[in-house]
């Protein structure tokens, strides 16, 4: 497995299309999230020139996981769409805080099936650690996620220091929440 990361302009040719197609397969086809899809790719207003993507590619060349990093000094998912997940706290706008979203490591070659399948295969730990490291390289001291609640269990299993920002809410039948992750804490 190998990690590919960077903003759109720095990704190898074709990888932006591949990661957004992978997101469509995971979040729309498999998880049933109601997201914008164009030409088989899932994108939204937060896929910008400054957005950083982290991908895991398996030995056969398939995308096996993805994550998206956004600076909180610019509009981000939590600040614009789900500020209520912060339990009354104003959304951070701080160069040392980055948002982690669209995190998934779903193996389409394995038998599917648990509610944790989004996070269940061997690429998960590599992807999470790589996303944290990638954010740290860009000055992040903390990450804030908007994710299904299952990610909290994953983060704990990986030994990362994390705690939730508030109670989950139900969106499209799935419990999502915001979670703080300390960069450098336990990686």
């Amino acid at each position: 497995m190998r990690i590919i990361s960077g903003a759109v302009a720095g990704l190898p040719e074709g990888y932006y299309g591949r990661v957004t197609h992978y997101r469509q397969r995971v979040f729309v086809e498999q998880l049933g999230w109601r997201l914008q899809v164009h030409d088989g790719c899932e994108t939204d207003q937060f896929d910008r020139a400054d957005t950083v993507y982290v991908m895991v590619e398996d030995d056969a060349g398939n995308i096996a996981g993805c994550a998206r990093l956004l600076q909180t000094t610019q509009p981000y998912l939590l600040s614009e769409i789900f500020p209520q997940l912060l339990n009354g706290l104003a959304p951070p706008r701080d160069a040392s805080v980055w948002e982690l979203s669209r995190f998934a490591a779903m193996d389409f070659n394995a038998r599917a099936a648990t509610p944790l399948a989004q996070f269940s295969h061997s690429a998960t730990a590599l992807l999470m650690r790589s996303a944290v490291a990638c954010a740290a390289e860009r000055g992040a001291q903390r990450l804030i996620t908007v994710s299904p609640v299952g990610i909290e269990r994953l983060i704990r299993r990986l030994g990362l220091q994390a705690h939730r920002a508030g109670p989950p809410i139900i969106v499209d039948g799935q419990a999502i929440f915001a979670c703080w992750i300390e960069v450098g804490g336990g990686i």
Partner: protein
């Protein structure tokens, strides 16, 4: 609701606030004064059922998680995993692992007890909370499956 905290007419505990790091800080006594309500529970699919040598029967592990919250502003949020334990002809829910929360417990001088001590104290508090009945009721209704035959054997008092 216990009134050891300072409750406003809107039901807010005056001393509660979200810190910039996202934690809600409060003392153990203040935490115990707050009633937690069941928010949701889910089953985990059993991807790896344990092997069974019994013929005609298979003992599958049943696990899940549960989420609880307070009616305070800001809200306290606690979640933990559970599993259904069997033994001696009885079936009951057991907490499985530590509590995940947005709570940081502090001492009387408002100093953090730390994540580890907070987790230990929250686990102790959860273990005297009658959460099993609410989870069983929610899971039984949501999944309408054989869990409806479960009986919760421990009769515990709520926080």
């Amino acid at each position: 609701m216990n009134s050891r905290g300072h409750w406003s007419s809107r039901g807010e505990l005056a001393s509660l606030a979200v810190s910039p790091d996202g934690y809600v800080r409060l003392t153990v006594a203040a935490f115990r004064a707050i009633r937690l309500a069941h928010l949701l529970s889910e089953l985990d699919a059993d991807a790896n059922p344990p092997p069974s040598r019994a013929s005609g029967a298979c003992l599958a592990s049943i696990k899940g998680y549960t989420e609880w919250t307070s009616q305070t502003r800001p809200a306290l949020s606690l979640g933990w995993d559970w599993r259904i334990a069997t033994g001696a002809g009885q079936v009951r829910y057991q907490r499985d692992g530590e509590v995940r929360s947005n709570v940081m417990l502090v001492d009387a001088r408002r100093r953090d007890l730390g994540a580890l001590a907070t987790a230990v104290l929250l686990c102790a508090a959860i273990d005297i909370l009658d959460w099993e009945t609410a989870v069983d009721h929610f899971i039984s209704n949501r999944y309408a499956c054989n869990l409806s035959n479960l009986t919760v054997t421990e009769n515990r008092s709520s926080l």
